[in-house]
Amino acid sequence: MTGPSSDPERPVAPRDPAEAALRRLAHQLEERVKALDCLFGLSDIVERARGSIDAVLSETVELLPPSWEYPEVACARVVLDGREFRSSNFRDGGWTQQADIVVHGRTAGLVEVRYVEQRPRRDEGPFRAEERRLINAIASRLGRVAEGLLAERLLRDKERELRERMTHLSRVGTMGEMASNIAHEVNQPLTAISAYAQAARRLIDAGVGDQAEIAAILTRISQEALRAGDIINRLQDLVRRRQSKREPCDVNALIRDIEHLASVDCRLHDVRLRLRLAPSLPVVLADGVQLQQVALNLIRNAVDAMEAAGPEDREVVVQTALQGAAGEIEVSVSDRGCGIAERVGDQLFEPFFTTKPGGLGMGLSISRSIVQAHGGSLWHSSHPDRGTTFAFTIPVRDDGDDSDDTER
């Protein structure tokens, strides 16, 4: 790293001092431009690398030698977390200028520029003070890039985990809001079962019930038990926490499946639930339970929005339709409630945004992320005092049908 004492390549000093000053200035300017080019180049590389640290390092290492004063004898290498990237012309020996790459306060690697032949002595061996600043800047930049990518990866993992947890939570939350209504709904068949059984018992004890009558009562008891079980099964399907999956789904069937659950809620709020399902829809690849959760969430919101609505307006319409030449299926939920103020806008979809007292503010945010994970979109249109429509789309993909066919 010690610099040479002679300077064979230094230009012969011109006799005119003014011209000499000018040439020195021009040279300095040229070096400055090279340094700037190098930094711009690095920004470019980071941009193009799309999150791959290997791509950033292998390109950066080629960017360095031309930016130093003597490119013809310069090579470079970058080491990060035990992995080394060398410029194509790399050779050992000679004079080096190095800077540490620090990631989260820890020295994780280094950037090195090497002159393989002797060059005149400058500020730091054969290297200039400007080059020190440049190599420091590059090392620092690489440190930030590494931190960013690391954080991004952690964030992605964390986000996926969080999204799965929140999906579960919001599902449970929506269920919680419906829970007391559902408890009431399960209690009805239980009440009927208990009363039927006690009546049958009394008829038998009094010797007045003939076999046919008792048999009819038993049939009704088992029907009511199935009804109670059905309500509980649907609830469990929705509350159970599981990994997202993709399977062929009939969107109409999904909606019909939650009609009962939703209508319990609607009935107790004096709201009519109307389904307008398209006559036939292509199969989509989706997580059916998640889509049901989105629809239920939108229906719940619609019911809440009509709290102050008059009796003739208390209606929620759930509609399905095929949009664009078999492009996507649209599901919409419309109410005739209070509408949504324009200034609220897309804040609606942000986590923890809520207009409901006691609301968690997660429903729409989760719904949108579910729909987006299916490649669709969720949006709303609202007219103050005339109500709101929320709609989401799920793309129809041909490979969905194909894979389904090949399985058979």
Partner: protein
């Protein structure tokens, strides 16, 4: 005294078909007459205050709720005793219902004997109320059958005046007072002055 001879009816109002059906069957199994309605409005549409019985009412119903039906009946002056059917979480509603005059409440699902006992009590309460009301009406019609002079006399007797005082007040002979008095006692169906006072005071309370 007349009593209406119609059989008391248990009116069931619940939006759940299976609950109505099973409840009706249970009541039939013990020989009680019931009629079922799917909503408060359906019940109100056919409601006849003259029919004796009691009401089994679901607290939570879409449309007109159980509590609202109770209030409407109250407005109409109907005293039909109500046994509310409540769910586990509805205690607050049940308390409100009882404060508003409900006879009782049972939690769904219920023990048959528990419900039947409460219904019997409610029917007895209804019968007692109707009997009292019939008595009051009967005495009213007996009083209406008196002549104006006899009614004057009745007021004075009930006010505790002696025959002599009454004769002076009305400017008639004591003998005439005695004749009127005998008519009043006969028309009112009273055995003694105390009996007469009790009848008249009872009809006025």
């Amino acid at each position: 005294m007349t009593t209406r001879n119609a059989d008391p009816t248990v009116f069931i109002v619940d939006d759940d078909a299976a609950v109505r059906d099973s409840l009706g069957l249970l009541l039939r199994s013990v020989g009680m007459v019931s009629e079922a309605y799917a909503s408060a409005d359906a019940f109100l549409a056919s409601f006849d205050p003259a029919r004796p019985g009691c009401l089994v009412l679901d607290v939570r119903m879409p449309g007109t709720s159980g509590l609202e039906l109770q209030a409407r009946l109250h407005e109409r002056g109907a005293a039909l005793p109500i046994v509310f059917l409540t769910a586990h979480g509805d205690i607050e509603m049940a308390v409100r219902a009882v404060k508003a005059g409900a006879a009782d409440f049972v939690q769904k699902p219920f023990r048959d004997q528990d419900l039947l006992d409460k219904l019997q009590a409610a029917l007895a309460q209804d019968a007692e109320l109707r009997r009292q009301r019939a008595d009051v009406e009967e005495i009213g019609s007996r009083i209406a059958s008196l002549t104006p002079r006899e009614r004057q006399l009745l007021e004075l007797v009930v006010a505790g005046r002696a025959n002599k005082e009454i004769a002076q007040d009305l400017g008639i002979s004591q003998r005439t007072v005695e004749i009127h008095r005998a008519h009043v006692m006969r028309k009112m169906g009273a055995d003694s002055v105390t009996d007469l006072v009790r009848l008249v005071m009872g009809s006025r309370s």
